[in-house]
């Protein structure tokens, strides 16, 4: 279900915890699975659960609790824009509006070509760099004024 490379990464996470506590790797394992698949289907979640020796329901609970998991397919690039108050004061909401206009989609929508999904995010612990956005839950971009956003979108073509 997952590639050898992903499984190796998960195995490495498992070694961080006591041997009888494999479930502790659940948050990381699901994130690694998402990196590979783009989103977490029930089958993927079940596979990760079995791999860690936990019930599928317990893994599903984790997947549905944390904001950064995708429980539905998303575009090739998921852009999460922080609009929380500190960012809002320095253009976070404006940046989201700008993206909505450029991409022609709203929050939680994907462009027809399947390239971009737009998400509203909460504080990413980077408010000094506002406006802040996250690409595919891994790469953080700061000071995203219009020209920087244009540059990022061009780069992600």
């Amino acid at each position: 279900m997952l590639t050898q490379e992903s499984l190796q990464k998960i195995d490495r996470e498992i070694t961080k915890y006591p041997p009888e506590r494999k479930q502790s790797a659940a948050v990381a394992a699901l994130a690694i699975a998402q990196d590979e698949k783009g989103w977490l289907s029930n089958e993927t979640i079940e596979f990760v659960a079995n791999y860690l020796g936990m019930t599928p329901m317990a893994a599903y609970e984790v997947a549905s609790f944390y904001n950064m998991y995708n429980l539905k397919p998303v575009g090739k690039y998921k852009l999460t824009v922080c609009t929380n108050l500190p960012c809002m004061l320095s253009g976070g909401v404006d940046a989201a509006e700008y993206l909505k206009q450029k991409l022609g989609i709203g929050f939680d929508e994907t462009t027809p070509d399947g390239k971009f999904t737009l998400k509203q995010g909460e504080c990413m612990g980077a408010c000094g760099d506002a406006p802040v956005m996250l690409v595919n839950a891994r790469r953080m971009c700061g000071s995203m004024l219009p020209e920087e956003i244009d540059k990022l979108l061009a780069e992600l073509e």
Partner: protein, 444 residues
């Protein structure tokens, strides 16, 4: 970004923010790093001696609650056998806070050394650093720092040639504010949804995997080596009466240079504001939330008279919190600001406790309708009453955190809420608000 300014720094002393090696082991060693750990491991004197230095230093936890760290360390059953854990809280989800990220970025070994000292003094041999989900690059860097320490014999078996063995791992979150609460964080390390536990039992007796566990914030652990090196008195001297040491303040919002600033406790707020480049566009300070969005808001004029320490901020009617200083100028609509805060708590409530789950929902709905011109005058009283019924009635402090901004915004800026309800629009014209953010530079 770097640490943008300091006055007499401790955590960031001697760091070259532009260098690629300053954060690495070699850089930390050159700044005298790990010397205290080695000395403690060699010392014949009891562990109590070191904990008593921390107690006398008056260090208060930097994660938000300000609990005395020395006292907390004393709660751990150091001499009871069995596995115990040291957990570092780098979840940093309180909106406005971004200091732990820079500590991990520029001085990760100070955190490692602090956790190791904690492990030795509290009798724990395993540690986890729980790192905020959104800062993946920083998590990678911390793992690299752990690798350096391991390779140098400063982590793992027989640390620095002593009998002391301890392993530390980085654990990466994936987006949940409530996981910053220490028992939710522990649930999350156990591979579950992050729902806070009932207390008691406290984590010192029943924490990770049911074992005694000490949880501290990143900045708290990072302070330990410095305090033990300079001694309690020198540390106290860095700050002001009852408020020793330095603090990294994360300054965000309407200032010219948003960023992290390490200054002694007791620094007057205007001085911090000046370090942060002053108000954007030379506008007036309207309000400030001094400790992250869960703390009460303070009107600008009052804030200008406040000193940046636990006592000063509490006298001004708010709390020290995590040191997240959110600056709002006259272009800010206070109703809109509160609406966004209320949305955050509604979104992040874990849903276990009815007052928090339902209360955050209703508070958001009501503020939303006031902001959108559909408010009624009695809404203001209803908001106050909902907030007062959440406070103190929930398993964790997220409920109180959601209530405090609502109560304080209404108390301090009541006129603006009334104006909104009467005129069905903002007191601050929309184009003025838009100019405030500085996003559309050309149109300002």
């Amino acid at each position: 970004m770097a640490i943008l300014g300091t006055i007499n720094p401790m955590l960031m002393a001697g760091i070259d923010f532009d260098s690629d090696t300053s954060w690495r082991l070699e850089g930390y060693l050159a700044r005298g790093g790990y010397a205290v750990l080695k000395e403690i491991l060699k010392s014949e004197t009891g562990r109590e001696k070191y904990i008593s230095v921390i107690k006398r230093s008056g260090l208060r936890g930097r994660g938000g609650a300000g609990f005395p760290t020395g006292l907390k360390w004393g709660f751990m059953p150091a001499f009871r056998g069995g596995q115990k854990y040291i957990v570092c809280n780098s979840d940093e989800g309180e909106p406005g806070t971004f200091k732990d990220r820079d500590i991990l970025r520029f001085n990760p070994h100070a955190v490692i050394e602090g956790m190791l000292i904690g492990g030795y003094l509290m009798g724990a041999t395993r540690g986890y650093n729980y790192i905020h989900g959104e800062i993946y690059e920083i998590y990678k860097r911390f793992e690299e720092a752990l690798g350096e320490a391991r390779a140098a014999g400063l982590l793992g078996d027989n640390i620095a040639g002593s009998n002391f063995c301890m392993e530390i791992q980085a654990h990466h979150g994936f987006g949940a504010y409530v996981c910053g609460e220490e028992t939710a964080l522990i649930e999350s390390i156990e591979g579950k949804a992050g729902r806070p536990r009932y207390k008691p039992p406290y984590t010192a007796s029943n924490g990770l995997y049911g074992a005694p566990t000490n949880v501290n914030n990143t900045e708290s652990y990072a302070s330990i080596p410095f305090i033990l090196k300079m001694g309690a008195e020198a540390y106290l001297d860095m700050g002001t009466v009852n408020n020793g040491g330095t603090k990294i303040f994360s300054v965000s919002g309407h200032v010219n240079r948003p960023g992290n600033y390490e200054v002694p406790l007791g620094t007057p707020f205007p001085k911090l504001l000046e370090l942060a480049g002053g108000m954007r566009g030379g506008r007036q300070l309207k309000a400030c939330i001094p400790g992250g969005v869960s703390c009460p808001v303070i009107p600008g004029a009052r804030m200008m008279e406040t000193t940046m320490d636990f006592d000063g901020i509490s006298k001004a009617g708010s709390s020290f919190g995590s040191g997240a200083v959110i600056i709002m100028d006259e272009t800010t609509c206070m109703v809109k600001a509160l609406e966004r805060i209320a949305y955050f708590f509604f979104e992040e409530s874990c849903g276990q406790c009815t007052p928090c789950r339902e209360g955050t929902h209703w508070m958001y709905q009501i503020i939303h309708r006031i902001e959108h011109g559909q408010g009624r005058m009695e809404d203001i009283e209803v908001l106050d009453s909902i907030a007062s019924r959440i406070s103190g009635n929930t398993i964790c402090a997220l409920g109180d955190a959601a209530a405090a901004p609502v109560e304080s915004f209404i108390k301090q800026f009541r006129d603006e809420f009334v104006y909104h309800i009467e005129h069905k629009q903002c007191l601050v014209p929309l184009d003025v608000q838009r100019a405030g953010s500085g996003f559309f530079k050309a149109t300002v």
